[in-house]
Symmetry: C2
Subunit: 325 residues, 2 copies
């Protein structure tokens, strides 16, 4: 079968844009978004033609306290409905469940009782059997499902192959290629997308891409995956997300040729909220410490600490990272 990988003039109707601003951006501000921000983002996504809006995590209240986080850490049904009502729009609603951190049996309602459309399960490679249980649960309750295998830049190739094979045999709809550490160059994304696509096509699944901007490659890697067959594309407004952040929604919508997408409402949202969010103390986006953790294929936590601590002794930080290798 010849893949339709698109070109720079026409468009592929299988492409879906997923706005993760609340979910990945919530990792920046502890999910402390104002109701106005969330409602306006919802309206913005509808007007922009975005396909999915991820509201946050379905975190277990046995593990995390509601006193410590904003409500989008938990995404209670009534909180989502307070924003979207019955969501009588084409925009679909997504939430993320973390393996081991979600009380999915209780907190994921049956689809007929929920306004959520898509449940995305984030898993490490060693948690795949549990992830599959969670996926089956969500699938049987009536949801679309994705699985997002994290930190694969640290995973041996043969383990990744086995994990992908296991997941592809489950009822999951979409398998995500995730560059958790912003460690991959486009030529690696090309090769990995090809690997994921080969398995996806064998089992009738689709592929998504979730990139981080440590090396200012989140957008480049997203369109690299897209032009090799990925069809679900994660982005956030102005790249808001943990550490160096994500693929910019602005760049992605400006790139896509499908007339359903409209950049203007997103620019208006940026004008109204993003500088204000930064002035509240939310820090994200490309910076040397994230470049270094990306290049060294490390978790961004040490870089986040460096940046939030207002340090600028980059060379010393680099030596600290090398000591941890």
């Amino acid at each position: 079968m010849q893949r339709n990988n698109g070109n720079l003039v026409g468009f592929r109707s299988d492409i879906k844009v997923v706005d993760c601003t609340l979910r990945d951006g919530g990792l920046v501000n502890n999910f402390a978004f104002s109701d106005e921000f969330v409602k306006d983002l919802y309206r913005t996504n509808i007007k922009a033609g975005v396909d999915y809006m991820e509201f946050g995590y379905k975190a277990s209240k046995d593990i995390f306290s509601k006193d410590d986080y904003g409500k989008w850490k938990f995404c209670d049904e009534e909180d989502i409905r307070a924003v979207v009502g019955n969501n009588d729009f084409d925009l679909k609603i997504s939430v993320m469940t973390d393996v081991g951190r979600t009380d999915y049996k209780n907190d994921i309602l049956k689809k007929e009782d929920s306004v959520i459309d898509l449940v995305r399960t984030a898993t490490y490679i060693h948690q795949i059997p549990t992830a599959i249980e969670m996926i089956q649960d969500a699938h049987e309750k009536g949801y679309e499902t994705t699985v997002n295998i994290m930190a694969i830049s640290k995973v041996h190739e043969d383990e990744l192959d086995k994990g992908l094979e296991l997941l592809a045999q489950s009822d999951v709809d979409i398998i995500y290629l995730v560059d958790s550490f912003g460690a991959f160059y486009p030529e690696q994304i090309r090769r990995l997308t090809d690997k994921y696509m080969n398995i996806a096509e064998k089992y009738g699944k689709r592929i998504g891409i979730h990139a981080h901007n440590n090396q200012q490659l989140a957008f480049a890697n997203t369109i690299e995956a897209l032009s090799n067959g990925a069809s679900l594309l994660d982005a956030t407004v102005s790249g808001m997300g943990r550490g160096a952040g994500n693929c910019y929604m602005e760049s992605l919508l400006a790139f896509l040729r499908n007339p359903r997408y409209n950049l203007v409402p997103v620019m208006d949202f940026v004008q109204k909220y993003i500088q204000a969010e930064k002035e509240k103390g939310s820090i994200w986006g490309y910076d040397i410490p994230y470049l270094l953790t990306g290049v060294l294929n490390s978790h961004p936590s040490s870089a986040i600490k460096f940046v939030n601590g207002k340090r600028d002794d980059y060379s010393r930080f680099y030596q600290e990272l090398l000591d941890m290798e």
Copy 2:
């Protein structure tokens, strides 16, 4: 002949890194760099293993007044020598000459009287005959030469082919692929690099890449050109350059595997100078207005005016740009 396009483990010895911080960055601050900045950048480049340092333009004093610009707009021999002495290091010295704006017959000395190694001629497609005269002049005086064809995203393919053919028949050493407006996506850079390489190989020339960061693709496009055969790579410290700026030197040195390159001195330079330069009022780097001029394949001047005017009404600016199409 099989091209050696490199891989992610070994390195290509033909790669040369060109630091354009003073030249492209001078367009941001009117070449008002302190002597300390310039001397420290020179020492930084030596320690970092950078191959060429571009000091600025050789602008005509008949056209531009020395009262209106810092000295690196003109790059007088004695000003360069005040920094580099006889330049007893591997780092080579470069200057740029603009077609129609350089009194090259008088201001480019014979190589034996100059510490400059490389003369780079920037030309628009319609100026190529004059560019060739300038290149021949520099070549006969004893310099290495490059030609940088600007604004090719606005040029018809057959004109570009004819221009490249003419230039390849001259004595120029290196032909630059320049993305003046930050308009190209990596797949376009791939195709263009291939075009430039085919002509270069036919005439025994090399290819360089000079990218702009309007779509946060300057680094991605630079390594895309690199992995398709380009060997001279332009970068600036923290991307300092006109509008959205250039490929970050930090990213590029972190990517290259040749042990001659060293990221640490560049990070130390950033720590000492870059935040301070921004606090002096120098504005550059990715922002929505540059994304828009990039996507619309327009000169960044209107976006620079928007950003310097502290405007944030992006949607109105977008409509203004569309009106100019």
